[in-house]
């Protein structure tokens, strides 16, 4: 019995080897190089449940880039494969699952780079693992400043190799995103006295602190500052307490799975019809998307909501990108239009694939470990720049984008044939300041 099993295993190995060799002889594509096998691009995002509205369109951004690379014949003789792992547990992002997934990527020598994560708290547990493994990680959406900037404690996340930058991101940071909304709310919306609620997570509290600091500098007052954990469902106590202090607006630091939609809904129920503002965590898709702010609060309740995106909202190639995305995913029942972070995820995948291409040009016969390190070294080099869908992207010595755009969105209940959606208002490039 035992020997039979070993025999079967050996047979399987032979089969795989045969499949590989036959693959190399029948290599399609126009490139002259032979098919050397498959390399993987990991995707680490929360993809299910209430997080699907965030994760799925983002994942598909990366998928589009990988599929296009394969259609063009692969890169340097390699085929590419997308390896998405979902770290949503019960529909919410889960740090432990995120850490496990990153271990899986690190342990798979064929993974040359990872797109993700979405939530900064997940970034905090993943970066030490990917840093040890020397695995490139490009986040389309992480905004917490501590992940990259040494003055905010980034070195704690890359203790073993502090000089080895493996984590890069195309999103702007919360020390930009929070203050940007503060300025917008104060100057454009004319708000003066705010209720500030955060979800006491890495991201939510961080962005709310940054917001509040700038808000007070501008001369705004804070009616109440409250932390309400991500399991909160009853915000009525907070709302009633704040009502006595006559706030003229609300800033929510957090994400929708933490309760942004419920807070907004209960505010409107208590007759508090004041603008609702927040970071990118609240801008998560149209009214019919599963778990979206507009869906939970109701489109009419969601009117008067303003959110930021830590990414360029109106990028030069947006129309082409949207068309390509919709063409590619037109057979899918859900999430067949780009989300807020589809473009950035596409750009992240582009950066990883471009680095792979450049590295393989210089050393075409490198083994998988060398490829992984080569991609990391190329992508994180501040002197390199990448032509991406977001513009000419490059990364500073910490791995932060040199294109820190903040875009402003508002809810239009009539958009998308009356189901309600976020519509773009304006964008500001904070890199030039």
């Amino acid at each position: 019995m035992r020997y039979a099993r070993i025999g079967a295993l050996a047979g399987a190995v032979v089969l795989v080897a045969a499949a590989c060799s036959s693959g190399s002889t029948a290599a399609p594509g126009g490139s002259a190089a032979a098919d050397k096998g498959t390399l993987k691009v990991g995707v680490t995002l929360p993809l299910s449940g209430g997080s699907a509205a965030d994760g799925q369109p983002t994942m598909k951004g990366a998928q589009l880039a990988v599929d296009q690379a394969n259609e063009a014949g692969g890169i340097g003789g390699y085929k590419l494969e997308l390896l998405p792992l979902d770290h949503a547990v019960n529909g919410k992002y889960n740090e432990q699952q995120g850490a496990q997934d990153m271990q899986t990527f690190a342990g798979d020598a064929a993974v040359i780079g990872v797109v993700g994560p979405y939530n900064s708290a997940v970034g905090k547990v993943q970066i030490p693992i990917s840093n040890d493994a020397g695995l490139t990680q490009c986040s389309p959406a992480n905004t917490n400043e501590a992940l990259t900037k040494p003055e905010f404690g980034a070195l704690d996340f890359r203790k073993n190799y502090p000089e080895r930058i493996n984590y890069i991101r195309v999103a702007a940071t919360d020390d930009i995103q929070g203050p940007a909304m503060a300025t917008y709310a104060f100057e454009k919306l004319g708000l003066k006295n705010l209720l500030i609620v955060d979800d006491v997570t890495t991201f939510g509290k961080g962005v709310a602190d940054n917001f509040q600091k700038k808000w007070e500098e501008l001369g705004g007052t804070v009616a109440d500052r409250v932390g309400a954990g991500p399991d909160t469902t009853d915000f009525n106590g907070i709302i009633t307490a704040a009502k006595g202090k006559n706030p003229d607006g609300v800033y929510y630091g957090g994400v929708v799975t933490s309760g942004a939609g419920l807070l907004l809904k209960q505010m409107r129920q208590q007759g508090l019809n004041i603008p609702f503002t927040g970071p990118d965590g609240i801008v998560n898709g149209p009214g019919d998307a599963e778990g979206s702010l507009i869906g939970i609060a109701g489109k009419d309740n969601a009117a008067g909501s303003y959110g930021t995106l830590a990414a360029i909202g109106d990028f030069p190639g947006k129309a082409d990108f949207t068309a390509a995305f919709e063409e590619h995913f037109k057979g899918d029942a859900d999430f067949n239009t780009p989300g807020a972070y589809s473009g950035p995820a596409y750009a992240c995948a582009t950066v990883i694939l471009k680095s792979l291409e450049e590295f393989l040009k210089a050393s075409p016969d490198a083994d998988q470990a060398a490829i992984r390190e080569g991609v990391r070294a190329w992508a994180s080099d501040p002197s390199h720049s990448f032509e991406t869908v977001l513009g000419t992207e490059s990364f500073d010595a910490n791995g932060d984008t040199t294109l820190p755009f903040i875009s402003f969105f508002t809810v239009d209940p009539a958009a998308k044939d009356g189901i309600g959606d976020w519509v773009f208002k304006e964008q500001i490039n904070f890199g030039s300041q």
Binding site: S48, N90, A228, T233, D234, T240, Q269, G271, I296
Partner: protein
Amino acid sequence: MTTIAPAAPPSALERFQGLHLGPYLFTLGFAFVAYLVIGPEQFVNALTIGAIYALVAIGYTMVYGIIELINFAHGDVFMVGAFCSMFVLTEVLGQDGPIHDPVTLAVVLFIDFAVTMLVLGVLGMAIERFAYRPLRNAPRLAPLITAIGVSFILQNVIQIIYGPSPINTPQIIDPNVRVEILGISIGWVNIFVIVTAVVLMIVLQLVVGRTKIGRAMRSTAQDRQAAQLMGVDINRTIAITFLIGSALAGAAGVVQGLYFGNIQFTLGFQAGLKAFTAAVLGGIGNITGAALGGFLIGFVEVTAAALGFFVWGQAAVFAVLIITLVFRPAGLLGQQLGERT
């Protein structure tokens, strides 16, 4: 307890002590202090959320009282109640928003409550029949683990059917309609939740205190074997206890949906934990105690929120539990149960 001279007639103070009003006065005093601290509108919030906790807590306490099982699946029974109510409202009655005609509203509410409570009562009986009864004479740990297993089964079944995201449920009582009472603006839905809970609790007290089945429940709780010898059908009595407890959890699920308008399959865990705390706080096994405990927890939570310590709300709930248990290890009303606890 205390040494009383046998001949002396009871003084006024002793007669007062004999009434055992302490726990009620404590709760009233606590409510009064909370009222002064948080103001009338927050007080209504606290009563509303406390009413939901109280309804769930009663189910915990009834089951513990009769078979000494901490029914960890009870929070999830409550969650199933919320989903059942949503199913009745949307799929059976075709409702998707507020109903403004009072007659229609009353009819829809009646059907919703009747169907949900009946379905949940049967569910509770089924859980007892298939998960707990076979283990009734097994070591204590076995039914406890089974209860946790039932909890996971209920969660996963609802997750498979409705998905893991929070979903909206119709708020047929328009949550934006408010009335002015003594200068305080109160939502109709708040009043409805509180009144429903109080009415259900009064009916329950009457059932337990005045009916034959109530007497059977009390005698089974006191001494199962003796009750059996006296001709009480133990299996039937325990099944009816589960029926009533689960039906109340179903009613709590209905009002949860009406009040928040948004439900999720994980709802039961948090609510169950708090209701269990309420049951222990009030003295587990004691129905009035569970109701008092539920309201107390509502007050603690909302007071924490009103004072700007929202994030400490849960810690405050458990701090109150620990302090109470230090001074009254059997809970607020636990003493009246004698050796049971």
